[in-house]
Amino acid sequence: MNRPWTAVGLVVCLGVIAVAGGCGRSTADPTTRVDALGAVELLNVSYDPTRELYRDINQTFVRHYAEEHGRAVEIKQSHAASGSQARAVIDGLEADVVTLAVWPDVEAVAKAGLLSSDWEKRFDNQSVPYHSVVVFVVRKGNPKGIKDWPDLVKDDVSIITPNPKTSGNGKYSFLAAWGSVLATGGEEEDARAFVTEIYRRTPVLDTGARAATATFSQKGIGDVHLTFENEAHLEVDESGGELEIVYPSRSIRVDPPVAVVDTTVDKKGTRHAAEAYLGFLYSPEGRAIVAKHHYRPWGESPPMPAPGEVWPEIVTFDISLVGGWQAATPRFFGEGGVFDSIYQPNGG
């Protein structure tokens, strides 16, 4: 007597599954992205701190592209932690372009077969249109007198930097500290001792850059915050005079790479617009916007952040000092790597 109801239940369930499956397919259908008016829709999958930068870039680029090619473009942005954005693209988020924080994240997308392996050669400067450097943010008047890297480990200075295992910002800060020892003639052992001392003075290991910023600026923990120059400017501007930037004598150059996602643009037919979009970052107009957001544009005579402002001099080294990302990532941040050994209860 219950059989008719069982049948009804099965039909309902199959229906639900069919509808759900159908929905999944229709969103994945590439042709729906180009609408009837011929407007091209691009998805830029990026990381957290670039939200404001790309909002500006998009506005100008849309106008620029319409003037030059007579075609409307609509650009959508997606921002989250760089590593999880890379995983989202690998797992099927249809990004036309990726603009991520660190080389390993773009390389992971390439390894998954979504980019050709020579993605670095597609744009100038190994597909890095702008740089940043790791700088210090200190409290008003610099009460602990922090001027350069060795000052971080004197007296009772306490340091805020995110967990390098979960944050690109944290990785760069770690490597900046490590490299500051090597670049001034120190040995690997000295570098290891120095970073160990740095993390001994780090009371909080936030999982992301913006959380570390909140810990330092809003909760008042720590004497110095290691972060990217562009983030430091945002943080200091928002503090209302409570914080200052200090440029150490030397630091690591931060290289956030960009790439067109081949599989997506070929499927959607958006390659032309996607390449023009990333190329725009290298144009005079694009570079001026990049500079305005305190990213240092690549190339000769970079534009200044604002009239009357100049880029402070700083000697930079890059990731090649520690053998490039491919070697550095597992060595420093992999399971059981240098960073882990700092926290071994009776080790490092």
Binding site: G9, L205, D206, T207, Q218, G334
Partner: protein
């Protein structure tokens, strides 16, 4: 006793048995129920069984099976190497310890709050009753940020508590505090309707027969609500074990001290080591399951004894 916010699930009884008898079988004076021998009270057992099994399979069993399969792809040696490192063991201890303490605290506090809400009429009671559910709706990351801002040395509470040696931010205590915040609604909402449904005549009878107030509570009231308290404990525990968003903002994430297991999962994902990441999740799941089985067994015994 009015209970405007009672969250007990009310079964909407489907009227269909009254309409359902097949045509031509004649409605005798005895009514339709006589024809459906041994039929369940609720109609459509087959329907609900089909829907239930589909939902349980597709929403719970399949995702968990994928998780376990991914972790199993490493083989036993690889699994242990990834899931049983000293650091991971320390993280399990932090996760389980903080969750157990928080669930116990939530159960006790929840019992008190539920009692007050169910039994005592006071101005603002309905507002308080509505407030209880707020932690469920608030993004937990916000809770973590607010709690840590309150308890840091310069925070509103921290400036008084930290000199006394009470560190509520970037400490184990901080983890327990946010876990109580996220799990308390479960502890309250499970116990509240049971208290509301208690027969107050029995309590009065006990008092009239000479029982003290404590005796009345321990012998008459508590056996009736204890199973619900234990259920609340189990729900709070499960909620606390899975919590990530609020904890990462208040724990400080120091390896071997305040690092919870889900942070290790995220760290391994950053290395694009999916299988290794899932091993930690599987371990955490297995431990939660074991704890919940124990609590459920306890709960069943209590229910049995209460009858």
């Amino acid at each position: 006793m009015p209970s405007p916010q009672s969250t007990m699930i009310a079964f909407a009884v489907d009227p269909s048995p009254l309409q359902a008898p097949p045509a031509g079988r004649g409605r005798s004076a005895a009514g339709p129920y006589r024809r459906r021998r041994r039929s369940a009270v609720l109609p459509g057992f087959g329907t609900s069984a089909a829907i239930t099994s589909t939902v349980v399979l597709s929403l719970i069993v399949f995702p968990l099976a994928v998780l376990v399969l991914r972790a199993a792809s490493l083989g036993p040696g690889g699994f242990i190497a990834a899931a049983w490192t000293p650091r991971a063991r320390a993280a399990y201890a932090v996760s389980l310890g903080a969750s157990l303490i928080a669930a116990a605290a939530s159960s006790l506090l929840g019992l008190v709050v539920a009692w007050v809400l169910a039994r005592i009429e006071f101005p603002g009671r309905r507002l308080l009753d509505a407030l209880v559910d707020v932690p469920l709706a608030l993004p937990t990351a916000v809770a973590g940020l607010v709690y840590s801002a309150l308890y840091v040395p310069q925070g509103w509470l921290g400036q008084w508590l930290v000199p006394l040696g009470i560190k509520g931010a970037y400490s184990f205590l901080g983890i327990v505090l946010v876990l109580v915040f996220v799990s308390l609604p479960f502890a309250i909402r499970v116990v509240q309707p049971v208290i509301e449904s208690l027969d107050r005549d029995t309590e009065e009878a006990a008092r009239i027969l000479g029982a003290s107030r404590l005796q009345t509570f321990l012998r008459v009231v508590l056996p009736g609500i204890l199973p619900a308290v234990v259920t609340g404990f189990a729900l709070s525990l499960a909620r606390a074990l899975g919590e990530y968003g609020s904890v990462v903002f208040i724990s400080g994430n120091m390896p071997f001290k305040t690092e919870i297991a889900p942070v290790l999962v995220v760290a391994r994902l950053e290395e694009f080591a999916y299988a290794e990441a899932t091993t930690v999740a599987v371990m955490l799941l297995a431990m939660s399951l074991a704890l919940l089985v124990i609590v459920n067994a306890l709960q069943q015994r209590l229910t049995h004894n209460a009858r």
